[in-house]
């Protein structure tokens, strides 16, 4: 029993220490944005690398999720005589939940891992110290361009995932199940509001911020050579993924308060 309480205490302390370190990093990022100088080249490079470079992963994820979700919905909904609801359900689910969450998870695996590994390797090979020794703050140089790049790219990637998810669902339902194209599209458009798409993009922005802060934190605190970099990279992906899933629930409630489902101008 004593051992369990001790473990619980250690986990709680570890969690609050982690949260404190993340808060420190966020404050330092705020200072860097206000006082640091803009680095357009590095930021542009990050947008290309994390945004443009993640498109294939995001398109495939969005398209196949949209297609399979549409098929499963059609099987049950057509049994119940609710086939007209397939398009709206797929669209709302993609816009509000599946699009941003799956994009966030895929990007955390692709981009978050790369950020933690790159910065972690720089840390253990003294490249971060070299930056500091030249009067360059590592947050200014390494974190801010990545943060701007990803927070700019994520909403666009989410929109892309939603778009390809809807396209794939349309192709599958119309071609495979012989549902009339205009009938399907009418129900999708009539039941999807701009607010639904906005929710997906807002979530994308927040998830981008979570991925950057968690991954860069793991990179900057890496120690102990290759083993430490490996641990940091794994931790970055696991923590970002969990943070996305947990934050998504609270964000869904919060955004639903401002943009309730069905309130949009359909």
């Amino acid at each position: 029993m004593g051992g369990f309480i001790k473990l619980l205490g250690q986990l709680t302390l570890g969690f609050f220490r982690w949260l404190g370190q993340l808060t420190d990093l966020v404050i330092e990022m705020g200072t860097a944005i206000v006082r640091g100088r803009p680095r357009f080249n590095l930021t542009g490079h990050q947008i290309v690398s994390v945004g443009f470079g993640s498109q294939l992963v995001v398109i495939v994820t969005g398209a196949f999720t949209g297609a399979v979700f549409a098929a499963q919905s059609y099987f049950k909904f057509s049994d119940l005589g609710l086939a007209s609801g397939v398009g709206p359900v797929v669209s709302i689910a993609l816009c509000r939940e599946l699009g941003p969450v799956l994009t966030g998870l895929m990007v955390s695996g692709r981009v978050g891992a790369a950020m933690a590994a790159e910065i972690g390797t720089m840390k253990v090979t003294e490249q971060v110290d070299a930056l500091r020794s030249m009067g360059v703050h590592p947050v200014d140089y390494l974190v801010i361009p990545r943060a701007i790049g990803l927070m700019f790219s994520m909403p666009l990637l989410v929109a892309e995932a939603i778009g390809f998810g809807l396209l794939a669902s349309h192709v599958l339902i119309v071609w495979h199940f012989n549902v009339p194209s205009t009938w399907y599209d009418y129900h999708v458009v009539a039941n999807t509001a701009l607010e639904d798409i906005a929710i997906g993009m807002i979530k994308g922005f927040v998830f981008g911020a979570l991925i950057v802060v968690i991954s860069c934190h793991q990179g900057l605190k890496a120690t102990n050579g290759a083993v430490g970099v490996g641990r940091g990279t794994t931790a970055a992906v696991v923590q970002s993924s969990l943070a996305i899933l947990i934050t998504n629930m609270f964000l869904s409630f919060l955004l639903n308060y401002f943009f309730p489902l069905g309130s949009g101008n359909y």
Binding site: E126, D129, S133, M134, G135
Partner: protein, 257 residues
């Protein structure tokens, strides 16, 4: 052991009672040292004595538990990362493994400090890169990536990067470690050449006695977390102290069985 050299007029670095622990391990236990301006001071000591830790304190890369460090008359202990910026520009550092940026070419690495100072003209940057790389004998390797040059070359590139913006002081962390004797000798000559050409104050951390004898104007021996000896190389070599003599001659002090 007493400080046998009293040439401390207008020093560049003044360290007083510096203490640093990592967990339970007390590495520096009250180090006091004065580094004269425009000369080369070598910090000698066995592996694990805290030489690199001492060096990283001088550039503010580590924060001491207590003590004082004056760089060019200005206290740096307690300054934030951003407030340290002007002081760091006066002090370049050569890291043990060079710490070149993997993603940049040799030339890009070398001109990085200038770009950070706001110089954007590519012609000027290229000219300065060529100039400083010719001093270290690597101007024909400008376009190569760090992964494609040898360890000795990487150190010379790192040295070029450390001096390109003409710092007042350069810190060398084991500059000859892991190099063959010929390349190590060329690095020693470079340290001397840079000191004379750019009038740089140099602080060299090493356990290479040959290197120490060649580059040092002053020597400090770090032992047990404190300065055990401070004087000239001549005074060090003439010292009748068993610990020092064992170190100079590379003897472990154990008898042969």
């Amino acid at each position: 052991m007493a400080d046998t050299r009293k040439n401390s007029s207008n020093p560049f670095v003044q360290i007083s009672d510096l203490r640093k622990s990592f967990g339970d391990q007390e590495v520096l236990r009250g180090v006091s040292l004065t580094i004269p301006r425009g000369e080369t001071t070598v910090v000698l000591g066995q592996s694990g004595e805290g030489k690199s830790v001492l060096l990283k304190h001088i550039n503010g890369l580590l924060t001491p538990d207590s003590g004082s460090i004056l760089i060019d008359g200005e206290e740096i202990v307690g300054l934030s990362e951003r407030a340290l910026r002007p002081t760091r520009r006066k002090v370049g550092i050569l890291f043990q493994d060079g710490a070149l940026f993997d993603s940049m070419t040799v030339a890009e690495n070398v001109v990085f400090p200038l770009q950070e100072e706001g110089i954007r003209d590519r012609k000027v940057l290229l000219e300065r890169a060529r100039e400083v790389l010719s001093v270290v004998g690597l101007e024909e390797h400008m376009a190569k990536m760090p992964i494609n040059i040898s360890g000795g070359m990487r150190k010379r590139v790192a040295l070029a990067r450390a001096v390109i913006n003409r710092p007042e002081c350069v810190l060398y962390d084991e500059p000859t470690a892991g190099l063959d004797p010929i390349v190590a000798d060329s690095i020693d000559h470079l340290i001397r050449r840079l000191e004379h050409e750019y009038e740089i104050t140099s602080i060299v951390v090493t356990h290479d006695m040959k290197s120490m004898n060649f580059v040092a104007d002053h020597v400090a021996v770090l032992r047990g977390g404190k300065i055990y000896f401070h004087g000239t190389p001549k005074e060090l070599n003439a010292l009748h102290d068993e610990t020092i003599q064992n170190f100079i001659h590379g003897r472990s002090g154990e008898s042969r069985s």
